[in-house]
């Protein structure tokens, strides 16, 4: 067996360096990363990258910065209990090396969104991929109509990107609301499920695209509320989380029936996946 180098291999990684690490909560850290060798990551909001730590392996992480941010990109990583990769990632510091493959997949159809109102709904860690879109929309604000953002999380302590949320709240060109499932003594905002925020939003269903990103249980209830507001299934977008491995639509890990999340998604129009059992 002969071994030959293939520079155009889909498995070749791009060398990258961590510029900074910021702890967001007990379990999430935000990594600012730059590709080396003069390369830049050409991505769309909602796409993901395969992040490599040699000796540990690779994991798919959604890119949480907007492509309008130049020079580097951000990844928000939650360290999960026995997750070898995410725990290894949390041990990394500014100056450490990582590898990047991608970006992969289909992101949010921002061109299609232009001229439309937006209803962006995120629950829990779903704010990570959605933040990419939110910041993209803010940086191109005049291309879009009314922008509503609804955010939900378990407790105020689980709130990610608190400083940014504060700045979104202050903006006059965004209607922002957030809620927590359980409050805290110093919490002055809403308490309750994210679905409770939807009836209060005034929207024009024929001119609105809704985007929902969150844990599996959230989709069903949020989409029901959106449907109640007469938003048709083909104007609702979701981002699905699966364990993408190869990123090339081949290995089969992220396959749901006949679709591959890594190439056909992770962002899908709801009408495409609503009848696929187990999709959400």
């Amino acid at each position: 067996m002969e071994k030959m180098s293939i520079n155009r291999s889909a498995y070749r990684i791009k060398e990258a360096k961590i510029l900074s690490v910021r702890r967001l909560t007990d379990s999430e850290k935000l990594f600012d990363i730059a590709l080396q060798n003069g390369e830049s990551l050409d991505y769309e909001p909602g796409q993901f990258a395969e992040v490599s730590i040699f000796g540990v392996g690779e994991a798919p992480i959604s890119i949480c910065s907007s492509p309008t941010k130049r020079g580097s990109f951000e990844l928000c990583v939650r360290a999960v209990g026995d997750g070898r990769f995410t725990n290894a990632m949390h041990k990394l510091e500014a100056g450490d090396d990582v590898g990047i493959r991608g970006p992969f997949g289909v992101g949010f159809p921002v061109q299609l969104f232009e001229g439309n109102d937006l209803m962006l709904v995120a629950g829990g860690l779903g704010i990570a991929p959605l933040r990419s879109l939110i910041n993209y929309v803010i940086d191109n604000r005049r291309d879009f109509g009314k922008v509503n953002i609804l955010l939900g999380c378990k407790t105020p302590l689980n709130m990610l990107f608190g400083d940014e949320i504060e700045s979104w709240q202050k903006r006059i060109d965004i209607n922002f609301s957030c809620t927590v499932d359980r409050g805290a003594p110093d919490w002055k905002g809403n308490v309750g499920l994210i679905t409770s925020l939807i009836p209060g939003v005034d929207l024009d269903p024929e001119n609105t695209f809704a985007v929902v990103v969150g844990p599996p249980v959230m989709y069903k209830f949020v989409i029901k509320e959106l449907t109640g507001k007469n938003i048709p299934d083909h104007r609702i977008l979701v981002s699905l989380e699966r364990h993408m491995k190869c990123g090339l639509g081949k290995c089969g890990h992220c396959q749901i029936h006949n679709i591959y999340c890594c190439q056909d998604g992770p962002v899908f129009f709801y009408d495409r996946i609503k009848d696929l059992k187990g999709a959400i």
């Binding site: 293939i6 155009r8 291999s9 889909a10 990684i13 690779e58 491995k245 089969g252 890990h253 059992k277």
Partner: protein, 324 residues
């Protein structure tokens, strides 16, 4: 390109000469009803009448394990993306397995392309061989239309008594034939003999399940929640035999294999197993929707190796019975 014939008395010469120039892999008997593709030096080692080998020739195109990347983090982050390749000639590939290779070709050349596979594939010459009759009762090649050749080879041999008819399909095939120099040109009588055999085969090879192939994807769609899958699910012990031996199962894992000291190592791809209903749908429905092609070749291997005696033909028959 002129077709050729090879006298059976010259087969040994043909293989020996080929093996002197190239690494030749061919079906070899390993025990009762067990055959495997292995390197051969002479025709004596080859079993020309064989039931599908334990592992399909997939093992040369998609090895069980392969290195994708080598890395070294002792100083900075050095790495090399690699492909493992070997120049070989596959001799005696059945039409079902040719179809299997064609399926894999489609998957790995679909964008984004998998160069590891594609580079390796281009180093492999393929010589097919026709089945004049059924290998055994588990085959469903006539259902899938794979009992007759549909390309996917450089040369194709058909046993016509005391000689083989050779269909020369590619320039590479012609070059291989020329290098051995032991063939004769095919004449009109040889062509007629081939046509006679193909006509005779129409009487032998008949749709094994009596279900129209074109209705199968819909059948699997309708039968997605069928109790048949619960029943199979209970019997399946998830041993992974069926996916291992399947010529078109290509699901894989990617993981790191660090050397001692953990600073250097390899990133490996290895094949993995799948669940029953999903696996069946990935043969008879999903690839038809995605690539316009069935990914079952009818080779019968999954049925032969199943420890729970799950039978592919019976599964299709029961679905058809339930949803016709």
């Amino acid at each position: 390109m002129q077709n050729a014939i090879l006298r059976k008395s010259h087969l040994n010469d043909f293989i020996s000469k080929l093996a002197a120039m190239e690494k030749v892999m061919a079906p070899v008997a390993k025990g009762p009803k067990h055959f495997a593709f292995e390197e051969v030096k002479s025709a004596k080692e080859i079993s020309l009448r064989y039931i599908p080998t334990i592992l399909p020739p997939k093992k040369y195109f998609m090895p069980q394990h392969e290195t994708l990347l080598e890395y070294d983090t002792r100083e900075g982050q050095k790495m090399r993306a690699v492909a493992e390749v070997e120049k070989i000639v596959l001799f005696g590939v059945h039409t079902c397995d040719l179809a299997g290779i064609q399926c894999l070709n489609i998957v790995f050349s679909d964008r984004p392309k998998d160069l590891n596979y594609l580079i390796r594939k281009n180093k492999i010459a393929i010589i097919g061989i026709e089945c004049n009759e059924y290998c055994d009762e588990h085959a469903s090649c006539a259902l899938m239309g794979n009992h007759i050749p549909k390309g996917g080879y450089d040369l194709f041999f058909t046993d016509l008594g005391d000689y083989f008819f050779i269909h020369v399909n590619t320039q590479l095939g012609e070059e291989l034939l020329d290098k051995t120099g032991v063939y004769e040109k095919a004449t009109i009588e040889h062509m007629n003999a081939l046509e006679d055999l193909r006509n005779k085969k129409k009487e032998i090879f008949k749709n094994e399940v009596d279900v129209d192939k074109n209705t199968i994807p819909e059948l699997f769609k309708k039968g997605f929640d069928s109790p048949i899958w619960d029943e199979l699910g209970e019997r399946c012990i998830s041993c992974g035999n069926c996916t291992n031996v399947c010529p078109t199962c290509y699901c894989f894992d990617v993981y790191d294999d660090p050397d001692l000291g953990a600073k250097t190592g390899k990133r490996i791809r290895s094949l993995r197993k799948d669940r029953k209903r999903h696996r069946f749908n990935r043969k008879f429905r999903y690839p038809v929707e995605r690539y316009g092609k069935f990914f079952c070749t009818g080779c019968g291997r999954c049925t032969r190796v199943c420890m729970a005696k799950i039978n592919l033909k019976d599964t299709i028959k029961s679905l058809a019975k339930e949803y016709k």
